[in-house]
């Protein structure tokens, strides 16, 4: 699988003025999902393409958008039989009566056309069913190999137009694929689209790998590898295959995470029972120590503006969350209450920190404000750990291990609603969301 080579956006027309009233409330605790119609995208003349015939692609594009929007819990896609499926002519001039009868508030439709040069043109139209206003009119031109991305781009446009926030559908997830008995677990780095499509393995499973993270700005990953029995943080460029060790330490390093600008990797180095946080400058290859003392200081994560770092430390006796300045000064504890707090990660919006709350023998995903106020527990299972934010800061990915030791990926809305499975071919752990693709 190569990244999509050709991905041109051909705007047909600008979206309608932002005066439309159609809007999904994504902040309320009891929001009703918006009824939305997403019929199969019609095609003028069914034509064969490497991605399938254009009418088959049209059905799958609608399925992908349905899965994306329905999966947010904010939309209720209506069954296909409840309205008259539009033909090509109705894409630009829909029969709104049929959709009003079906109680749809919004309509997503579009066309699929095979271009003479081998590319596909996939239209993306969003209508307010009541005002009959076109809110989105766009055509994506994609290679046959990249047709799914047009469906994700369309989903992101619709989501953004109806919620007022940026989307997260045209993005990928890196995670650890797990196979074999737990005592001899094989763990491989794997990457897939956020909806589970196009999974591929990056490592053979020969060496244990843990805790991968995407660079927010490039096709680079950081992860921990036990290759040659030397557990260390690595950098891996997915485009070139280049990789290097982060830092120059002869002892274990772990918990690597990128800075928001992708230029720095924060990580921990352990020596003689003491784990400290370092910042590694990718350009110069220099590492700078940020914490000291005999405590376990780990799981560092920058604030979106890069000025602060949240991390966990047992310096006060048990694992708790601390926020310090990016130079390591001024550490302040922010987690209190019962139990321990671990693996914090700062939201890309800056307003919240997601973390693992350990209490009463369970691990739960929770969020807290950077000043330590407003802690909320989002999940309640046996062992939920290792949160990672969606690019827009609305959804949190995490791993859930059940009482039988089976590990799977899940996601949950930051409101605590919509706890759902992320499909993977094998058991999986340590998910990390990548940035929105260009």
């Amino acid at each position: 699988m190569k990244p999509v080579a050709l991905f041109a956006l051909l705007p047909l027309a600008l979206a309608a003025p932002a005066s439309a009233q159609l809007r999904v409330d994504i902040t309320g605790g009891t929001a009703q999902p918006m009824p939305i119609a997403i019929p199969a995208f019609p095609t003028a003349t069914p034509a064969p393409t490497p991605a399938g015939t254009t009418d088959a692609v049209g059905r799958e594009v609608a399925d992908i958008i349905t899965n994306n929007l329905g999966g947010t819990g904010l939309f209720k896609p209506l069954p296909a039989g409840s309205y008259a499926a539009p033909g090509v002519a109705q894409v630009t001039a829909p029969d709104f009566t049929s959709f009003r009868t079906a109680a749809a508030q919004a309509l997503v439709t579009g066309t699929v056309t095979a271009n003479p040069d081998g590319t596909l043109a996939i239209g993306c139209f969003l209508y307010d069913v009541f005002t009959e206003e076109a809110l989105v009119r766009r055509v994506f031109t994609v290679t046959p190999a990249g047709w799914r991305r047009a469906a994700h781009k369309c989903s992101d446009l619709v989501y953004t137009r109806l919620t007022g926030e940026s989307g997260y559908f045209d993005s990928r997830i890196v995670y650890v694929a797990e196979t074999g008995p737990r005592t001899k677990r094989v763990k491989r780095l794997a990457v897939m689209d956020q909806d589970g499509a196009n999974p591929r393995y990056l490592t053979s499973g020969q060496s244990l790998v843990l805790m991968p993270r995407f660079s927010p700005v490039s096709e680079t990953l950081t992860y921990m590898s036990f290759a040659n029995n030397r557990p260390r943080v690595m950098l891996y460029n997915m485009n070139t295959g280049e990789q290097r060790v982060v830092g120059n330490f002869d002892t274990m390093s772990f918990a690597g995470r990128f800075s928001p600008d992708g230029r720095t990797v924060l990580f921990s180095v352990t020596r003689a029972g003491n784990s400290d946080i370092y910042a590694y400058d990718i350009a110069s290859g220099q590492s700078r120590r940020l914490t000291s003392g005999s405590s376990i200081d780990t799981s560092p994560s920058y604030s979106p503006d890069g000025s602060k770092i949240v991390f966990e430390s047992d310096r006060g006796g048990t694992q708790q969350l601390y926020v310090m300045n990016a130079d390591g000064s001024g550490a302040q504890r922010i987690s209190f209450g019962s139990g321990r707090a671990a693996s914090p990660v700062w939201s890309p919006r800056g307003d919240l920190i997601a973390f693992t709350r350990m209490d009463g023998g369970k691990f739960r995903i929770a969020v807290i404000r950077p000043d330590g106020s407003g802690e909320r527990r989002l999940t309640d299972s046996w062992q939920d750990e290792g949160p990672s934010w969606s690019p827009n800061g609305r959804v949190i990915l995490f791993s859930r291990t059940d009482r039988n030791g089976v590990s799977k990926l899940r996601s949950i809305d930051l409101t605590g609603r919509n706890d759902r499975a992320i499909p993977t071919p094998t058991e999986a752990s340590d998910p990390a969301w990548g940035p929105l693709l260009p």
Partner: protein, 184 residues
């Protein structure tokens, strides 16, 4: 480290490592290693120069007999810990004392592997496993074992000895294992 980028795909690197590992094993002489007698041995075979490849090139399974010798002398190659603790209890000290004695008679090298149970987060458990392994290493060093013969690695909660989410499994998994990796 700036210029140390290696243009090898991950899978390729792993395959190379595997190939290198197997070829090293191939050159190991068939009789390179025999179990030392349980009672004090005049000379362990690994002392003979030229019969054993460097320690880092072989896996512990090549020295199974050495492992058996250590277990027989010390009673166990494994010590256990209380929840979220890296303190050595009396039993652990006795076992480590036996291991130190065996290491005094046999010039083997060891890797000290630290492990944690599943009731900690992944990152913390890596650090906790290292604390446990380090505690064992410090004890052995205090008993006279040269630190150059000991390496430390933590697997956190990634390599449990026993499956299961119960007190017995957790207790079995909070451990440090001393693995004989070679001679010198």
């Amino acid at each position: 480290m700036t210029k140390s980028f290696r243009t090898i795909a991950l899978v390729g690197a792993a395959a190379l490592a595997l190939a290198a590992c197997s070829s090293k094993k191939d050159v190991l002489p068939p009789q390179a290693w025999q179990a030392p007698p349980a009672t004090p041995a005049p000379q362990a075979p690994i002392d003979q120069p030229g019969t054993v490849p460097p320690a880092e090139s072989v896996t512990s399974s090549d020295y199974g007999a050495g492992q058996a010798g250590l277990v027989q002398a010390a009673g166990s190659d494994t010590i256990h810990f209380a929840l979220d603790s890296y303190a050595l209890d009396e039993t652990s000290r006795q076992i480590l004392g036996g291991q130190a004695e065996w290491l005094g008679r046999n010039r083997a090298t060891v890797t000290i592997e630290g492990h944690a149970d599943e009731r900690g987060t992944r990152e913390y458990n890596l650090a906790l496993g290292e604390r446990r392994a380090n505690a064992a290493r410090n004890f052995l060093a205090a008993q006279g074992v040269d630190t150059s013969r000991m390496s430390v690695i933590s697997y956190g909660k990634e390599r449990p000895a026993v499956e299961g989410s119960n007190e017995a499994a957790w207790a079995a998994n909070r451990r440090v294992v001393t693995k004989v990796t070679g001679g010198r």
